[in-house]
């Protein structure tokens, strides 16, 4: 078993519990130190139950005693379900959240129903920790692409290069409850520096969302997000030119550190004239609220009518002047 603090000797990424090889570069994880054998030893593996000799069985996929059927446990690479290890604390309390929601309803503008604040009923106000991965990485990116820079007869000219990119605090949402648009709008409101270890009492305060991925699948997701981000950075200022095609990248990652974080949010549901609307408020910034609200059809109609009448009046005035 490897301690979580062990770093890969080749790429300096930390090993996680139960890794046999580095997930980034394939280097072997340090094994528990085995004593060097001074001389040849011979083992006959005996069943702990009945003392008979044990042999590897294909059906059991493990060493098994042929007599009593008991199995010797093997150390297999672990692929546990992901769990949030760190938590960002709530700084916006329940009453502050409700107040902020009412304020938001009041400040939505003229096109909303005039009775939105008085006629809507708060259905639920739930505290939730949504989960995501936060990664830091130092990447050496090799790239090639066609771009319009330096093009001669053809529309495109080939370019190639290598760029060092340091990416810190990149968040990949793993939330099922919140949409990608919601999580990306919430993210700037969080202070990642305030993260603390998860404690047993946290579940009482709010629901902690579950990651629905195992570690290997999570690593693939982080990897694809890293590649998407790298391509975005390359397009914005690294590759010469304004138009690109055939972008190829190869990312050599070093010190890829991934943390699993829980982000606080208030999920608000309210009902207005029989329809349910949802809002999400950041648990660390009462001003960061996004959500849906009804639009008043009567007021929109009124505005359109007003505009039409105004134009007709103007046309009438102009024609009167002309005649």
């Amino acid at each position: 078993m490897t301690a979580p603090a062990d770093l890969c000797r080749r790429c300096s990424s930390p090993f996680e519990d139960g890794d046999l090889r580095c997930a980034v570069c394939g280097h072997a994880a340090p094994a528990a130190v085995r004593d060097d054998l001074p001389e040849v030893t011979v083992e006959v593996l005996r069943c702990e139950g009945c003392g008979a000799a044990v042999a590897y069985s294909v059906t059991a996929r493990a060493p098994q005693c042929a007599f009593c059927g008991s199995i010797v446990r093997l150390e297999v690479p672990e692929d546990p379900l992901e769990q949030a290890g760190l938590i960002l604390p709530f700084t916006v309390g329940r009453s502050r959240a409700e107040e902020s929601f009412r304020q938001w309803q009041g400040g939505l503008g003229w096109f909303r129903p005039p009775d939105l604040r008085s006629a809507s009923r708060l259905e639920s106000l739930r505290a939730l920790w949504w989960v995501g991965w936060v990664f830091d990485v130092h990447a050496l990116v090799s790239w090639t692409a066609d771009s319009d820079a330096g093009a001669a007869r053809a529309d495109w000219a080939p370019h190639a290069g290598q760029t060092e990119l340091g990416l810190d605090g990149i968040v990949v949402s793993a939330s099922r409850g919140l949409t990608a648009r919601e999580t990306s709008r919430l993210l700037p409101s969080y202070d990642l520096g305030s993260a603390r270890e998860r404690e047993p009492g946290d579940e009482a305060e709010a629901v902690v969302e579950q990651f629905e991925l195992r570690r290997a699948a999570a690593r693939r997701q982080v990897r694809s997000e890293l590649e998407r981000l790298v391509a975005e950075r390359l397009r914005n200022g690294v590759i010469p030119g304004r138009r690109f095609r055939n972008l190829h990248t190869s990312v050599l990652a070093r010190r890829l550190v991934t943390r699993r974080l829980a982000f606080p949010a208030w999920v608000i549901a309210y009902r207005y004239r029989g329809t349910l609307y949802r809002c999400v408020l950041s648990g660390q910034d009462a001003a960061c609220l996004l959500g849906d609200a009804p639009i008043s059809a009567a007021r929109v109609l009124l505005a359109v009518l007003g505009a039409v009448l105004g134009i007709l009046g103007l046309v009438g005035l102009l024609s009167a002047i002309a005649s």
Partner: protein
């Protein structure tokens, strides 16, 4: 070649009988009481302790089935082969090195960008659009890790034959423990680490051109040259599950061998052609041709 280990004489820990362990094997079975033993020799440079292993998931029945159905497609093979193959199949843990490194490829190439040009041709009325290629020089570097290169460490099974039954799913690697080998034949590495390192480097270098060709922009490319350098290499000894049948129909005839991937069931083998069958086919063709000629003459 790795320096030869000594043949060992060990006492069976169940019945006390003397067992001889071949120098290149890690396991033995007592002929008197059938107890399986696993031998742990002190690690040396060329015979390190295995790091990981993949356990067998294909059993004897599935392995023989795989060989049989593979042979069914080779109807020019001698008929006796099928029967013999089923009897002699043996499960062996093959020593192999798992190689990984940081690879830096320096490349230089010519990339072609396509464009359309209006061709002015006075003889034909409408102007013709023709596709032309503009060639531009491009040079750069490509850095990546190679993680899953596996090369044989046994003189018994050449690397080409191992490649023929690859890939192994390396996600199924488990930490080596002697219990995994108990009751099976497990081989010690018989190639030196240096030889295996050379094999692995060759494999990585051969793949470099393909990597670069897939990496280039443009519509076409030509005269690509690569220079590969490898850093931070690591080689770890692993044990791979392989079913092997070696047959010799006749002392003077070459060896026939089948290898089955003990994890996926993929088969490889060099089947000899059956001379009687070939002669029969040749005779049939000659006879048919003669008959046609004869019929032609008569008409």
């Amino acid at each position: 070649m790795a320096e030869p280990a000594q043949q060992l004489e060990i006492a069976c820990s169940s019945c006390g009988a003397a067992i001889l362990v071949e120098p290149l094997l890690r396991t033995a079975r007592c002929p008197y009481c059938d107890s399986p033993s696993v031998v742990n020799r002190p690690a040396t440079i060329d015979r390190p302790d295995p790091l990981c292993a993949i356990g067998f998931t294909v059993d004897r029945r599935r392995a023989t089935e795989a060989i049989r159905s593979w042979l069914r497609g080779k109807w020019l093979a001698p008929s006796g082969l099928r029967r013999a193959a089923a009897e002699r199949v043996q499960g062996i843990y093959l020593p192999a090195y798992l190689y990984s490194a940081a690879v830096d490829i320096e490349y230089s190439t010519t990339v072609g960008e396509a464009y359309e040009r209006t061709k002015v041709d006075l003889s034909s009325k409408p102007l013709r659009r023709v596709r032309e290629i503009e060639y531009r020089h491009l040079a750069g570097r490509h850095a990546s890790y190679v993680t899953d290169t596996v090369v044989t460490a046994s003189r018994g099974l050449p690397n080409a034959e191992l490649e023929a039954i690859e890939p192994f799913d390396l996600a199924a690697l488990v930490r080596y423990t002697p219990a995994l080998l108990s009751g099976w034949i497990a081989e010690e590495p018989s190639l030196t680490r240096e030889d295996c390192l050379r094999l692995a480097r060759e494999e990585v270098q051969q793949r470099a051109v393909g990597t670069i060709e897939g990496f280039l922009p443009g519509d076409t490319h030509r005269s690509t040259s690569c220079h590969t350098s490898l850093r931070d290499e690591s080689t770890d000894l692993i044990l791979l599950p392989v079913w092997v049948v070696a047959l010799r129909n006749h002392p003077r005839k070459p060896l026939v061998r089948f290898v089955v991937n003990g994890q996926t069931g993929k088969v490889w083998g060099a089947t000899p052609l059956s001379w009687p069958k070939l002669a029969l086919i040749a005779a049939a063709i000659a006879g048919l041709t003669g008959l046609l000629v004869l019929v032609g003459r008569l008409l």
